[in-house]
Symmetry: D2
Subunit: 344 residues, 4 copies
Amino acid sequence: MAKKKVAIVGGTGYTGVELLRLLAGHPNVELSIITSRSEAGRSVSELFPNLRGRLDLCFSEPDTALLKRCDLIFFATPNGTAMQQVPALIAAGSRVIDLAADFRIKDIAVWERWYGMQHACPALVAEAVYGLPEVNRDAVRSAQLVANPGCYVTAVTLGFLPLLEQNVVSVGNLIANCVSGVSGAGRGASVAMLMGEAGESFKAYGVPGHRHLPEILQNLSHATKQEVGLTFVPHLAPMVRGIHATLYARITEAADYQALYEARYQHEPFVDVLPPGAHPETRSVRGSNDCRISLHRPQQGNTLVVLSVIDNLVKGAAGQAVQNMNLMLGFDERAGLDSIALLP
Amino acid sequence: MAKKKVAIVGGTGYTGVELLRLLAGHPNVELSIITSRSEAGRSVSELFPNLRGRLDLCFSEPDTALLKRCDLIFFATPNGTAMQQVPALIAAGSRVIDLAADFRIKDIAVWERWYGMQHACPALVAEAVYGLPEVNRDAVRSAQLVANPGCYVTAVTLGFLPLLEQNVVSVGNLIANCVSGVSGAGRGASVAMLMGEAGESFKAYGVPGHRHLPEILQNLSHATKQEVGLTFVPHLAPMVRGIHATLYARITEAADYQALYEARYQHEPFVDVLPPGAHPETRSVRGSNDCRISLHRPQQGNTLVVLSVIDNLVKGAAGQAVQNMNLMLGFDERAGLDSIALLP
Amino acid sequence: MAKKKVAIVGGTGYTGVELLRLLAGHPNVELSIITSRSEAGRSVSELFPNLRGRLDLCFSEPDTALLKRCDLIFFATPNGTAMQQVPALIAAGSRVIDLAADFRIKDIAVWERWYGMQHACPALVAEAVYGLPEVNRDAVRSAQLVANPGCYVTAVTLGFLPLLEQNVVSVGNLIANCVSGVSGAGRGASVAMLMGEAGESFKAYGVPGHRHLPEILQNLSHATKQEVGLTFVPHLAPMVRGIHATLYARITEAADYQALYEARYQHEPFVDVLPPGAHPETRSVRGSNDCRISLHRPQQGNTLVVLSVIDNLVKGAAGQAVQNMNLMLGFDERAGLDSIALLP
Amino acid sequence: MAKKKVAIVGGTGYTGVELLRLLAGHPNVELSIITSRSEAGRSVSELFPNLRGRLDLCFSEPDTALLKRCDLIFFATPNGTAMQQVPALIAAGSRVIDLAADFRIKDIAVWERWYGMQHACPALVAEAVYGLPEVNRDAVRSAQLVANPGCYVTAVTLGFLPLLEQNVVSVGNLIANCVSGVSGAGRGASVAMLMGEAGESFKAYGVPGHRHLPEILQNLSHATKQEVGLTFVPHLAPMVRGIHATLYARITEAADYQALYEARYQHEPFVDVLPPGAHPETRSVRGSNDCRISLHRPQQGNTLVVLSVIDNLVKGAAGQAVQNMNLMLGFDERAGLDSIALLP
C-alpha cells in the first residue's frame, strides 16, 4: 500500500518534535511538509538533533496549495492560528487534526472567555469531532476535522470516565489534582520555565482558573449526562515529561469499581488498568501512548481515589493525534505507536 | 550567657545532618555529643562534607551517663528506638525531643497498629507534649519530653488549622493531596529511592494508608473538637527537598477566609500567609523554617483550596525541633533559624 | 523466517530492563527465557511496568538445559557470574553475549587486579570477541562468545578511534573526561546513588582508578599499535541516562580532522559525526543506539577536543548487545534498533 | 558600630537575589537601595519570595544622587552597563564592586574582542582591582573599584594557583574541563535554558571560545609570570547551582603537591583543601562561600588532576562580592558569609 502523505503546520515546539518522531517511524505515512515561518529553509534535524539520520526534511513557508495535496494535515500551532487557516483547507476537502484548542470547546462563548479572543469560524467548531478515541472512535474515523484533546484533559477524562458513565459517584464535587512536567508549557522562551526557576521546586499554578477546566467539564458532563462540578488544580513538577492526575470522587453507589474500569477499557489499546493496590509512575509511560490507571478506596471510606498517568507529549498530544490519524486514514489504530516506554 | 549543651542520638540520616547544620550555627547552644553505633569514631564532617570547618566533632558510641549531662537531647533515630532509651533519661531528669514517631500518637492502640510494634512506654506518651509550637507553644516551653511532628503532618495541619478552629468547612470529607521530595524517605539504602528510580518521574504512594494519617487526624480533630474524615494521598516528586500540600475543603459557612488566616498566624514567626492569588513554591522555603500558605476559592465555588509548603527537613523535622528547643530552653524562638531560603 | 529464540540470564537491573525493551520490540527474535533467582515466578511487567501489555513473561530459575535450546543467550549478570556459567554453555555449542566485564580484558593478570578476583576460565577470554562492531564487525558475526564493551569505554573508544588509527595525535597523554547519569551505577540499593545524594549535585569519582581504564587502554593501544597513556576521570551528573565524553589530544600531524572522522564512520549505522561547530547533547541519543561525535580545535591551537555522547544503557550496554546479536544471527544490523531518541 | 549603607544597581537576576539574601543577613550593613528600571516600585520579596519577611525594600529607579550617599555600591548589571555609570560614581568618590565583566580584563583590546563592544572607560580598568581575595587581598582593602571575578574563573584559578605559583607543572598545555549548573546562565528568558531543554541532559558549549578564557589566562599568567596555554571547555549540567572544575596539568617538577596546596591555602577562610583521595561534590558548597579542592595523581603518572568546586552564585559571584566588601569596609572577612552549605 502506498504511503499516505501528511503535513505539519507549525512544528517547532515540543508537540511538533514529538509528532516528527512518531511520524518518522510510522509505517504507513510519509511526512511531506512541515511548515514554519521562522525556521523556513532550516533542516528539522538541525533544530531537533534526535532526528539526524532519521528524517531528511526542511521547514518550509506555509503554502496552502501544497498542503491541499496531502492526505492529512496536523496543526501544531499556538491557540488561535488554526481557526484562521483551517476553513480554507476544509472547504478544499482536506482532513485536519488540530492539536491546539481552537476546535475543542463546543460552547463558543465559553471558548472566547477562556481563550480571550473571538472565534474565527464557529460553524466549524460544531462540525469538528473531539478526538478522544476512547469516547468518539467511530466519529473520528469519518471526521474531516478533529480537535485533539488537551493533555490534562486526557488524563482526567480517562480517569473519571467509568465512574461517571455508570453514575456511581457524586458529580457535584469532583476534584482533579494534576501534576505536569515542564514540557507541557511548550518551547517558548519564558522566565518561569527556565530550569533555574522550575528546577528542584514544586508549585501549583492557575488555581483561580486554567483553560483546561471548561474542556474537562465538557467531557465529564457528556459522560454523565448531567452538569458536573469540578475543582481542578494543576501543578508543575521538576521533570520534563509526564502528567499525573490524582482524582477524588465521593461514592454514591456501591459497585466493584475495579471491575468496572477493567470492563470499560478491556478493548482499548492504550488504556491500561493496573491491578488493585498499584500506583502508576509517569516514567512507566514516558515516550509511549499509554494511559495507566489505578483505583483506590482508602480505608474503605466513601472517597475513591483514581490515579491516571500519561506522557503529556504522547497520549496528551502527538501520540493521540497519530492515533486519531490512524483511525481517520483506516490504519491499524496502533500503527506507529508501538514504542515501549523508556524506563529508567 | 554560657551556651547550653545539647546532644543528638543517632545522627547519620538527613534529619541528623540538618540538625547538625542548624545547631552548628546556633548562637546559644554547643553540640557536645552525637552518637552513632555504626559511625562511632568517624568525624561528622567526613560523612557530611558541608560541615568541614564548621563543626569539629566525631560520632561516638551512645553513653547514657554522658547524655544525662546535656541540657537537652535530640533523638534522630528510626521509629521504635527512642521509646527504648528515653524512659531512663526522663527518669534522670533529662529533657528530650524525639524527631521520630514514638511519642506522637496519644492512642497507643492506633500507634501500634500503624507502626507494627508494641509500644515500650505508653505512660510517657501521655506525658509527651506534641511539638507544634503554633498549637502548643506554652506546653512545649515547660515540657520534659517533646514529640516532634511528622513532615507531611506539619504542612497539612498548619494549612487546615484556621478553617477547622473556626468551623467554617465540612470536616467529614477533607482532602490532603501532598507531594514530597525524596529526602523525606531518609538516607537508608533502598532501590525505590535510587535516582535511577525516582528521577524524572512522579507517582503517588501509600494511598491505601500512610503512617502520617493518624497523626494528621489527631491534630485536626483536636483543632475542630470533632471527629474528622480525611483522604490523604502522598506523592513523590523528583526533587531533593520540599513538601507541597494541596488541601481541599467544602465550605459550610461564609467568612473572609484570607483574613481568618492572616489573623490566626499574624504573630507566628514561621508561618507566612501569602497575599490573595499567590501560589507558594517549595523553593521559597528551601533551607528555611518557614511554612508559606496561600488560599484560593476557584470560580467562587464551594470548595476552598489551601496551598501549604515547607522544607521537609527544616520546618518538617530539624528546624521545628530547634524551634521547640528554643522554647524549652528559654531562647528567642527564632534563634539559629534565621537563614533565608536558597532561591534559586 | 521463524523467529530465533533468545534468553537473558539475570535481568533485574537496568541493563536487563533495557534489553527487555529492545528485544520485546525486535522483529526477528522471541525472548523465551529470563532468569533471576531472586525474582523467579514474578512477571517481568510487575517489576518493570513499562513492559505491561508488551511482554508476557515471568522470571524463572536458571536452567541450563532450557538455556541451551536458545539460539543466543545474553548474560546481564554482575561481574564474575558469567565466567562461572558460560563455559558449560560454550561447551554445549551455545552462543553467548556477556554484558558484564568477564571477557573484555585479554590480559588476565590485569583483569584480576582491577576486578579483584581470580578468573574462572582464562582460555575463553582468549577466544571471546570484543563486541565493538565499529572495530570487530566481521569477528562478531562468527563469534561464539562476545564480550560486550563497557559504557564509558564505548564513548571514549569511538571518540578517539579515527585520531589513533591515523596516528595524528600524541598517544602518551590522552585525556578522557567523562560524565555519566546515575543509571550507569546499576539498580542495586546503595546510599551513594540515592536521589537524596546524587540529585542536584555533580562530582568526580574513582579518579585514582576506575575499572574501565584498562579496557579503554586495550582498545586505544589496539587502534594505534602502540602503548597509550591516558588519564580517565569519570564524573556523576544528576540525570538518569547518558554518557558525555570530552576527549583531549595533542596534535602531532596536520590533517583535515573533520574529514577524517566523516570518512571513518561514513558507513557506520550508529555513529553520527556532527557538522563542525556542533556540541552533542546526551538527550539527542536518549533511548537510541546512536553515538554522536563532534570535533573542535579551540583557537586553532594544538589541542583537539572531541565530544562523544551515547545512551549508557543503549549503545553503552543493551543496544550494543542487540547490535552484536544482529550480526551474530545474520539479521540486519539495525533490526530492533530503529527507535528515535526521546527529545525533550 | 553603625551599619554601613550599601546599594545594588540592577538586582533582578540570580546574582541579584543572591546578593539580597547575603546582605539581608549581614550584621554590618544595611541595604538601602536596589535599583531596577523594569521593576521599579515593586517589592523585592514579590519577585523573590524567599525574602518575604526578611527584607522590606522596593526596587527603585536608578538615582545617582542617592547612590552616592551609600558607602558601597554593587553593580549586578549585564556586561557593558557598569562601564557607563561607574565613572561618575568613582569621580564622586564612591566605592564600587562590579559583578559583571566590565573591569576584569586589563588588556582593553582583548576585552573588546571577546565582549564585542567598545570599552567606555579604559582608564578605570587600569585602576580597578581584580577582586580575588586569595590573590589580591591587600589591594582589595584599599580599592575604590573592584572587578569581581567570573564564576568559572574563580574555580579554575583557585584550583591551578599553587601549581603555577610554584612552577611545578607545564604551563603550555593546561586543561580546564568545567561544568556549571543552569543558574550560571542568568535569569533571562531563553529557549536554551528552559527546563525542557536543559533538564535530564548534559552537553558542552562554547568550545570554540568562551568569554571566561581570557580572564582565566590573565590570572594564570599572573601567577606563573609566563604566558600560559589553556584549553577551557565549559559544560552545562542539569542542576541549578554549582560549578565543578576538573583541571589537568603535566608535572615538570616533583613535589609534595598535597602539602603545597595545604600550605598555600592554610590561612584562607574560604578555601578548603580536602584530604588525599577525596572527591568534592558541588552540593558540599551549595549556598556557602567555600571553594573545596582535592588533588589526584592517577596511577602515579605524570598528570595531576585537580578537582575544584564552588557555588557559582556565592563564591562565583555574590558571596565573593560580599567577601570583597568586607575587606573594603574593614569588616571581618567572614561577616555575613557563615551559612553552612545545604546538604542534601
